[in-house]
């Protein structure tokens, strides 16, 4: 029974989410329908306005991209050729833009289907509620104009069968709406995403950029280590030799004055050791060397303020650099969860694929809506992963759950 209730709660939540997506899509779809005559007019007579119309369409579909991105939890990319130069150049761009044609296809299909789906997803639950209410009010209607939903109710027999009809509507709503919403979001995503060839060009640009970012991050890391060593550890060691030097001079003149200097030298040496240990930890955590990635990750999980579990299966030893990157990615992800997600629990899953790729998954049941552009944490994770030729995938719809999945080639 409790399991049925849990299932029902999830089904309701999903229906609610789907219905919200479809219903809020109705104004967009209706407006899209109104835009179709504009497009036709521009095509037939308003050629000079075509570039402006294309710009408007790009902004219009951007709204839809954001909606679909937020609903599915992964962003919908867009890639358009730049509208530059004189009117002739711009018209040529508009005419050859494949993304524009896909956008127009979306405008028409979504204008029609989005309206229907939106009303359907609002109507089905309402119909269910209405069917439940009919036994109470069917008699109020005149016999020659009976309530007809979906059949004319003219007797108590027909009225008392209504709860069954309500059950039917409810089942349709519960099962149908989430699927319809996913279906609508799915083909919207396909049409609104850049055409395959364009996507590839964009990916190459992305890869080049992320490679540069990875190198930059690596450089920043090296500078940090250099500074930590020179300004921290080395200064402490200079302190050691300096105080030993003073002590040496004191021993010749006034041996009693040497002792405080020796003690200072000793303290400085101890400080140097502490700082060295800290620097080493930020370069390569010793716990990785001693206990492997699963052991080190377990230590991170244990230290996480959000209750967190870990499953690690089939992990062998990977190269130190890969393990170290994985370790810092998990650490960063758990820090993010503790700081921003509001999650009640989290889970880290470590596995390998074919022994060649290390797969890290970090789940949490928090608020979702994690935005990569907002904080540097997610960006840092992506950079670390990209530096090893891996991929990062973040799924974080509004309302959660958030799943961060990173694949790291082990180079084995």
């Amino acid at each position: 029974m409790t399991r049925f209730r849990a299932w029902l709660a999830t089904a309701f939540a999903e229906m609610w989410r789907g219905a919200r997506f479809l219903v809020t899509g109705v104004p967009l779809a209706l407006a899209s329908l109104w835009l179709i005559p504009v497009v036709v007019a521009v095509t037939l007579v308003g050629w000079p306005a075509a570039p402006s119309a294309a710009r408007g369409l790009r902004r219009w579909t951007a709204i839809a991209r954001r909606r679909v991105g937020a609903f599915t939890g992964s962003p919908v990319h867009q890639a358009y050729p730049p509208l530059e130069g004189g009117l002739g150049d711009q018209l040529k761009t508009v005419l050859t833009d494949r993304s524009l044609r896909r956008d127009l296809t979306w405008l028409v299909t979504n204008g029609l289907s989005g309206t229907v789906l939106g009303f359907l997803s609002a109507g089905l639950p309402l119909a269910a509620v209405n069917a439940l209410a009919i036994p109470f009010y069917w008699q109020a209607f005149p016999a020659d104009q009976p309530v007809a939903s979906p059949y004319p109710v003219t007797s108590w027999g027909g009225a008392l069968a209504m709860p069954l009809v309500a059950l039917g509507y409810a089942a349709l709503a519960l099962f149908g709406i989430p699927r319809l919403a996913r279906w609508n979001a799915g083909w919207s995503r396909r049409l609104l995403s850049p055409a395959p060839g364009i996507r590839l060009t964009e990916q190459v640009a992305e890869l080049t950029a992320s490679r540069a970012a990875a190198l930059e991050a690596h450089g920043a890391e090296l500078r940090r280590i250099e500074r930590d060593l020179h300004d921290g550890t080395q200064n402490r060691l200079v302190g050691v030799v300096m105080h030993l030097g003073i002590a040496e001079r004191a021993l010749r003149r006034d041996p009693a004055g040497a002792l405080p200097m020796l003690l200072r030298a000793q303290d400085a040496a101890a400080d140097a050791l502490t700082e060295l240990r800290q620097v080493v930890r930020t370069i390569y955590p010793p716990v990785l060397a001693e206990r492997g990635l699963d052991g080190a990750a377990a230590a991170l999980v244990a230290a996480c303020p959000v209750p967190c579990t870990i499953t690690a299966s089939g992990l062998g030893r990977a190269p130190a650099a890969v393990e170290s990157a994985a370790y810092f990615v998990i650490a960063e992800a758990l820090t993010n969860i503790a700081k921003h997600s509001g999650a009640r629990e989290a889970e880290v899953r470590l596995s390998t694929r074919g022994g060649e790729t290390l797969v890290i998954e970090v789940h949490d049941d928090g608020l979702g809506g994690a935005d990569e552009s907002a904080g540097s944490g997610l960006l840092g994770i992506r950079r670390r992963i990209v530096a090893f030729g891996g991929v990062t995938e973040l799924t974080s719809p509004e309302g959660g759950p958030t799943v961060l999945r990173a694949e790291l080639p082990c180079g084995l």
């Binding site: 300004d231 030799v241 300096m242 003073i246």
Partner: protein, 214 residues
């Protein structure tokens, strides 16, 4: 001798003050940044300044720039620059004004107090003191047809000591040979490298460095 110190690391700053004071040197100001350093100079008119290359806020070469600026405001002010590492290009910046009274040493040289004080005194006396590390950087990167290759090992030693800023007498003492022997080596070196003979002061260091950097 009255000295101003600029060092951002508190422990090292205190240590330096302690070290110099216990040797009878009057530390009139000890500051932790370049601006305070430049402000302390007109106020105290020190005989020398000792400063760290890396100072806040960016911890790159503020100290170096402060040294150059201090020399612009107070030409000939003896300055001993200390650094966690040495670069021959930094040495070139410091020596650019052509006047003496410049020292450039690795920080850890302060541990050998006697040598450190000697270096400070040479700088105050208008001499040039370069860390052996800088000189060895200058002496390694050489072409195949370099005239340095024609020097004997002893002559290379003498050349390095000249570049570090030692006088003939000091070189004789360090190598445990007579001063005439040092003079003879130096004559050979100048002949082999095609340098014009110069006296033993700062100009000689500049000439040697100019040749090494060429």
């Amino acid at each position: 001798m009255r000295v101003v110190i600029a060092e951002d690391d508190a422990l090292l700053r205190e240590g330096l003050v302690l070290l110099l004071r216990s040797e009878g040197i009057d530390v009139v100001a000890a500051v932790d940044n370049a601006d305070a350093f430049l402000a302390a100079l007109p106020e105290h008119r020190p005989d020398a300044a000792v400063l760290d290359v890396r100072l806040p806020p960016s911890f790159t070469d503020e100290g170096l720039r402060a040294a150059v600026e201090a020399r612009r405001q107070f030409p000939g002010l003896p300055i001993l620059v200390l650094s966690a590492y040495v670069e021959d290009s930094y040495a070139a910046d410091l020596l650019a004004d052509g006047a003496g009274g410049i020292g450039y040493l690795l920080k850890e040289r302060v541990g050998k107090v006697e040598k450190f004080l000697d270096a400070l005194n040479r700088v105050v006396g208008g001499g040039t003191v370069l860390d052996p590390e800088v000189v060895s950087q200058l002496m390694v990167r050489r072409r195949a047809d370099d005239p340095l290759r024609t020097l004997t090992p002893r002559e290379r030693e003498v050349l390095a000591l000249m570049a570090e800023g030692y006088t003939n007498g000091a070189i004789a003492g360090l190598l445990v040979v007579s001063e005439t022997a040092v003079s003879k080596h130096i004559g050979n070196i100048f002949a082999k490298l095609g340098l014009p003979p110069t006296d033993t002061g700062h100009r000689r260091v500049l000439a040697v460095l100019a040749h090494l950097k060429a």
